[in-house]
């Protein structure tokens, strides 16, 4: 293997020598870009440094002395941290992109940073002792779990770039929301910044940069050792194997380094969004294509980029820089890049997997599906009834609804249960549509970004109007949802509404919405509590009118979806096949996406943006062997409704008289479900 690799390396070197101009150019442009970014950052940094350095010494008064201490122990370590964190994240992103051959891979888009952050938040809240033991270890564990999950899901699609990023962003969204909600449920007055402060580069000593530096150095050494095999790996899987390269081990090693880098940064400063995506992209666009050049220049550009962003932030925001977490700012500017990169991504329409072998033939299955549906309907009714009449009594026990309170309790529970059921059905239908449309089992309404739009709308309502009522909140959230839907359509219209593109556009938009909300929330306003509550997805605010409206919306939209069942049956066969059979591709996709959008927007109003019912229910239906569109849709709807009602009941009863939002409960159920699901088959 060594000889072979040496030979290949020599060949590479010879080609490089034959075209010294090209090789020089490959370094010149990235060097120029990194240099310019760095210079801009330094100019801004100098503006901060100059007055301090120019001040008389010894300091004439306490304020000047403090300014100098502030500079040497806060500003300077902050700049160092920006450089180091930027370098780590960019190197991590470049490694991911290279090894996975995926231009969208990065610690952010693969959910690695979010996983580390969730682990840190959970440890802080539940086992604070663990943090003293090893903050880095906690972060590492979190990011490893996230990475494992994402790769497990990606492996099922042969690591197709699209499905990997899709899984990554789902994991990322889930972890981010869960971290926020966990914090929210924990404390009353001291929450604001703790959540959104993640990603703040503000420092008060050299501890963090001094601990990051050796980790980066170690990673650089490891990457240096991996460089030659990585160069070989670029020859392509077959070529590399032929030269005796153990590609699987190489990938594992590179990914381990990349995951560790991202975990260390998250442990040190929190989530810094999208630097790991942006920097390698810039490096590549500048012509740094070979592994060595790409890794080198990505790292340097990443360092310069975060440094520049942070100094700009410090210059513009001045004293408020502390509260605009740099990590959220990079996400606001970085996430649109996902949209711009979309056309460059090779997508591949997967044909839906055939039903599990060994099951009964088509006729038997249809019989089964009819019987299944006959079983599911009473089950759903039973769940509804139980959720309605069983509740907590004041003395901790469970009890049937007491007769004297029946009227009051019914009028309180009925709207919530109906709304939960309607929302569950709509999410399930939206999930079924999206999964059939894209042939991707990770597709779900959360991923469309519509929920994020609705959240943004509510945020706008809260910050524009002092005390918006429920109606106004709903109006604004609908507005936000439709704005995002419209944006998604506009962005992906050019690609002929190719489902993968639409979904990725949706994910990019939700990442952006999350970042914007993070930046808004940085001020620590107590109103944020409302927003977080809303995001956590409670049926709390649902009125009888609201529930009736949700139910009507659900029935109308489900009826319309039913009309499209032929398309839903045929589209999973692949665009070409479906087109050949006579499915009008563009109108069909437009119709189905509009339906999915409306369904998820309506559901988000009552159960919030994050429930994963839209992901779970269609799977449950398919797991039972319902492969045709109509039965799968019906069964998924019933499952979705039942899941949501059950989640709502658990949320209302588990910590009575306090509540856990239904959306959060079902998301908590959804995560392990997802893992189990991905391990099967």
């Amino acid at each position: 293997m060594r000889d072979a690799s040496r030979a290949a390396g020599r060949r590479q070197a010879e080609t490089a020598a034959q075209a010294p101009d090209a090789a020089a150019r490959a370094h010149l442009v990235p060097a120029l870009v990194a240099g310019v970014l760095m210079a801009l950052g330094l100019i801004l940094a100098w503006q901060q440094a100059a007055p301090v350095l120019a001040a008389a010494r010894p300091a004439p008064d306490a304020v000047t002395a403090m300014a100098s201490t502030l500079f040497f122990f806060s500003t300077l370590p902050r700049m160092a941290t920006a450089l180091l964190a930027g370098a780590c994240l960019a190197l991590s992103g470049a490694l991911f992109q290279m090894v996975l051959r995926n231009p969208l891979a990065s610690p952010t888009t693969l959910g690695i940073s979010a996983g580390a952050n969730l682990a840190l938040v959970a440890a802080t809240l539940f086992v604070p002792g663990l943090l003293g033991f090893g903050r880095d270890l906690v972060a590492l564990a979190g990011s490893l779990v996230a990475a494992g999950l994402v790769f497990l899901m990606g492996a099922r699609h042969q690591f197709s770039p699209f499905s990997l990023v899709m899984s990554g962003l789902v994991v990322s969204l889930w972890c981010g929301a869960l971290a926020a909600v966990l914090t929210l449920l924990n404390d009353r007055y001291l929450l604001g910044l703790f959540i959104w402060g993640a990603g703040s580069l503000s420092q008060q000593s050299w501890t963090i940069p001094l601990s990051l530096a050796p980790k980066l150095a170690l990673a650089l050494v490891l990457v240096g050792l991996l460089l030659r095999p990585l160069v070989l790996n670029e020859l392509g899987e077959a070529g590399a194997r032929a030269l005796g390269l153990r590609t699987a081990e190489l990938r594992l090693a590179a990914i381990a380094v990349a995951v560790a880098l991202a975990a260390f940064v998250t442990s040190a400063v929190g989530v810094i969004g999208f630097i790991g995506l942006v920097a390698p992209t810039i490096a590549r666009l500048c012509g740094a294509r070979r592994p060595g050049a790409q890794l080198l220049w990505s790292t340097l550009i990443g360092a310069a980029l975060l440094f520049l962003t942070d100094t700009v932030l410090m210059t513009i925001a001045g004293r408020f820089a502390d509260f605009l977490p740099t990590g959220a700012v990079t996400a606001v500017f970085g996430s649109p890049l996902l949209l711009l990169l979309l056309p460059r991504l090779k997508t591949r329409h997967r044909v839906m997997q055939a039903p599990a072998p060994g099951k009964a033939g088509a006729a038997g299955r249809r019989l089964d599906s009819a019987r299944l549906l006959r079983l599911l309907l009473p089950a759903a009714l039973l769940v509804l009834l139980l959720a309605l009449v069983i509740g907590r009594s004041p003395d901790l026990g469970l009890r049937l609804m007491p007769a004297d309170l029946a009227g009051d309790l019914l009028s309180l529970r009925l709207p919530r249960i109906l709304a939960a059921f309607a929302a569950g059905m709509m999410l399930a239908a939206a999930g079924t549509i999206l999964q059939r449309l894209t042939g991707n089992e990770m597709a779900s309404p959360e991923v469309l970004g519509i929920s994020a739009g609705a959240t943004l709308g509510v945020a706008a309502a809260l910050f524009l109007i002092a005390a918006p009522g429920l109606v106004l909140q709903l109006g604004f959230s609908a507005l936000g949802a439709f704005a995002v839907l419209a944006a998604i359509f506009l962005v992906s219209a050019r690609s002929g509404l190719q489902p993968e593109r639409v979904l990725l556009a949706g994910i990019a938009l939700s990442a952006m919405a999350d970042a914007v909300i993070g930046a808004i929330g940085a001020a620590g306003d107590p109103r944020l509590v409302f927003l977080l509550r809303w995001m956590s997805g409670s049926t709390y605010g649902v009125t009888m009118e609201g529930a009736a409206l949700a139910l009507i919306a659900a029935l109308v939209l489900l009826f319309l979806t039913g009309l499209c069942r032929r398309w839903l049956d045929l589209l999973p066969l692949g665009a070409a096949a479906a087109g050949a059979i006579g499915v009008p591709l563009r109108p069909a996709r437009l119709c189905l996406m509009a339906l999915a959008g409306l369904l998820s927007a309506a559901a988000t109003m009552s159960v919030g943006p994050l429930s994963f019912v839209g992901l779970m229910a269609p799977h449950l239906a398919r797991q039972l062997g319902l492969t045709r569109a109509a039965p799968q849709l019906l069964a998924a709807c019933l499952f979705g409704g039942m899941l949501m009602v059950a989640a709502d009941w658990i949320g209302r009863s588990a910590v009575y008289p306090y509540e856990i939002p239904a959306g959060l409960v079902s998301a908590l159920i959804g995560a392990p479900f997802l893992i189990v699901l991905m391990r099967r088959r």
Binding site: A62, V63, A65, M66, A67, T69, L70, F73, S74, P128, L131, G132, L185, R188, Y189, L190, G192, L193, F194, G197, S200, S202, Q204, S205, W206, T207, D322, F323, G391, R392, P394, D395, L396, L405, D408, L409, L412, R413, A466, A467, P468, G469, L470, A523, G524, D525, P526, F530, R533, S538, Y540, G541, T543, A654, V655, Y656, P657, Y658, E659, I660
Partner: protein
Amino acid sequence: MRRAVTRRGALRLAAGGLACPALIGAAKAAAPQRIVSLDYGLASTLLSLGLSPVAVASGEDWDKWVVEPPLPPGVADLGSSWEINFEVLTSLRPDLILTTPYNAALTPRLEAIAPTQTFGVYTAEGGDVLPKAVAATRGLAQAVGRVVEGEAFITRTEAFFDQCRARLARLAPPPLAMLSFLDARHARIYTAPGLFHNVVERIGLTNAWTPAGSFWGFETIGIERLAEIADPAARLIVLEPVPADVLPKLAESPLWQALPFARPGHLSVLPASLMFGMLNDAVRFARILTDHLEQTA
């Protein structure tokens, strides 16, 4: 997560169940008897007027934030203050619900259950909180038919402030900065027009932090900004609860060490007072602060 129903809550419900018919029988429509409060400040004011609420939101955390007056045994827990449990609320059959603009979104639903009164102390119009708390106390006293008790309570409070002022005048106290740590890098500093700021000025002290904050009366800052406090004599009042890792981390921080507050005797950690409260919380804060300054003078 959260403890569910408390034993005293259950007892109270049992007691309420017995007392209820008697009250209805008495048919005293004039003054409400079964009052619930969605707000700590209003609930504790109610206690000072000689009435006990039937239930209070976030009752579980009362001892963490309000502390005094103690919540009488048997007051039911309404669940979290932004999502009070309507099942508990209706079961209690209240005849008056006290709420704040913070919970405005719930008002229509509250009104459907019982007459609802909203008292705004922390409102977007801004303005000093202490006078607004006095006005809200008057309004509440009127609403529950305890005007005399209300005036007595206000007089008592003002007299206490005067007393603190006199005690402190002898000490020539330094300016104070008051904050709660969010983590080792960030803090919520209390300033105009907030409750703590008003109290400090009322009892003759100076707030060392001069920039005004939000209408809640706080600003969130990075701790390095404490360097902006120019007076070297200024002292830092840190309010509990302090996250566990904050003080050890500060001890290692050169930036913190460079701040005048790192010198011995310039930082005090005082027991929690409700920063978004009303008169009782102001009195508690004033008493703790005055006692502390006297002891350390």
